[in-house]
Amino acid sequence: MPNSKDDVYGDHISHKFNDELMELKTEFLKMGGVVESQVEQAIQALMDSDGQLAEQVRARDKDVDQMERGLDEEATLIIARRQPTARDLRLVVSVIKMVADLERVGDEAKKIAKLALKLAEEGQAPRGYVEVRHIGNHVLGMLHDALDAFARLDSEQALRIMKEDKWVDEEYQAAARTLLTFMMEDTRNISRCMSVMWVLRALERVGDHACNIAENVIFMVKGEDVRHTPMEEAEKVVGR
């Protein structure tokens, strides 16, 4: 664990309180790392038709769930013991919300792994994998950057992630149209194309969760809730 004295959450009179907040941050980042690799490996399993890797991803989802429970418990105890205020309160409340996002990202990874297994069994030249790789890499980058923005409390980076969500939505729509064409060309493609469509849908959701995390980072740093506000509003808050 890094030296708590160097951290903005590490300068309370109570050392125990410092440790508790640091622990919360560290555990959250650990969970983030695991979830990130879950998504990465799920995509890999799909690309390589690697059934074993897909099984691993499915099995590891239990660890993610366990981490969610642990973090929620720790956050609840901090509230009960310390009644945190101001930036400490914003950290604890945000972690509770972001943990739910991470857990959902884990679920999406599991979903992709399941579809990877199904597609691997059918074993035909895949259609739409270019799109999966393209969007997959992008949302993975968003998730990675969102966790980095949290670690460094970087609200400007968080804002950049929020802006990228639009790109993901557009790419997803475009990919869906492409897959639709394949399905219309040959109805035997429908089942496989639908599976790929679900993968894309899961990836698009990962991007949404990365955005939610980014919004929470802005709340932690700036103390303003930028959810459901126009982008210009969020820009103003971050620029302050």
């Binding site: 890094p2 030296n3 160097d6 951290d7 903005v8 300068d11 309370h12 009179i13 109570s14 309180f17 640091m22 941050k25 560290t26 980042l29 650990k30 983030g32 790392g33 695991v34 990130e36 690799s37 009644q83 945190p84 205020t85 101001a86 930036r87 400490d88 309160l89 914003r90 966790l147 980095d148 670690a151 460094r152 409390l153 970087d154 609200s155 740093v221 700036k222 103390g223 303003e224 302050r240």
Partner: protein
């Protein structure tokens, strides 16, 4: 294995970091003030305990004064009904008005002022008299009741408002000092409101009480705020967060920040406020 991120950061802290004399961040002023306090300074001999503080206290609001020990919050509170008059070396300057009347006008009757601006202290201080006489004391000396039955009504009403009536109605003649600490404090509140004040000042009213008695007093503050203006000094941040509409943060005699309580406890504007409420210095 996923990469391990370090959690060490340098974020932007609240914008305001320094104290500028006479400058208070947030919203220290109100549209329809009960108290209008401008450039107030308090001296104990040579020592300046309150430094150029300006603040409005709105009608029927509950405002909490918080800050570390010795920051001047109690001193400032005591200016509002001239409790500092009794301290010989104490001198108050600046403009302090209650409904546009100068509080420190030498012609202003202090007894009348204190009837309008009542006070509850840290330690319950009932008179060594019966419960009834404690509450009846103020109305008697201010001549608020001509008949015994009027006085009975005032006593009952005050005790009811203080949430004490059901507990004491069968033993009004019992001596007040035999009550529990929480009951004594609520009795003092009943005594303060018996003379129908407009403002109630509370100087750490719950610091000597257990959590149940504290909860009762806080409940009472919420009810009283419908008809009175309440100024409360408290060392309990959670109490300030629970009971007040606005919170004022004092530091070394300066009024650093005044804001809506919800803002102060989630995202204060001044770094000193944040450091204090999050327990970062003592």
């Amino acid at each position: 294995m996923p990469e391990q991120r370090t959690a060490v950061v340098q974020e932007d802290r609240p914008a305001e970091t320094v104290i500028e004399e006479g400058k208070t961040v947030g919203s220290p002023f109100a549209d329809d003030p009960k108290f209008k306090l401008r450039n107030v300074e308090v001296f104990y001999g040579e020592q300046r305990a309150i430094k150029n503080v300006s603040l409005d206290i709105a009608r029927n609001e509950v405002i909490a004064f918080i800050g570390p020990s010795g920051c001047g919050k109690s001193t400032f509170l005591r200016c509002l009904n001239r409790m500092n008059d009794s301290i010989e070396s104490c001198r108050v300057t600046g403009s302090l008005t209650l409904d546009d009347q100068d509080i420190y006008d030498p012609k202003h009757d202090v007894v009348e002022l204190r009837a309008r601006v009542g006070m509850v202290f840290q330690k319950p201080n009932p008179f060594p008299k019966s419960i009834y006489d404690n509450v009846a004391y103020g109305p008697r000396i201010h001549g608020l009741a001509n008949r015994k039955s009027d006085l009975d009504d005032i006593v009952e009403n005050s005790l009811r408002k203080a949430g004490l009536w059901d507990e004491v109605k069968d033993r009004l003649d019992a001596t007040a000092t035999g009550m529990s600490g929480g009951q004594q404090q609520r009795l003092c509140i009943a005594r303060a409101i018996a003379v129908s004040p407009e403002v109630v000042l509370m100087d750490e009213p719950c610091s000597a009480l257990d959590p149940i008695a504290t909860a009762k007093v806080e409940e009472l503050i919420a009810e009283l705020s419908e008809s009175y203006t309440i100024v409360i000094v408290t060392h309990s941040m959670q109490q300030a967060a629970r009971v007040s509409h606005r919170t004022a943060y004092f530091h070394l005699g300066h009024l650093v920040e005044v804001n809506e309580t919800s803002k102060v406890f989630t995202s204060p504007e001044h770094e000193l406020t944040e450091s204090y409420i999050t327990g970062r210095f003592g």
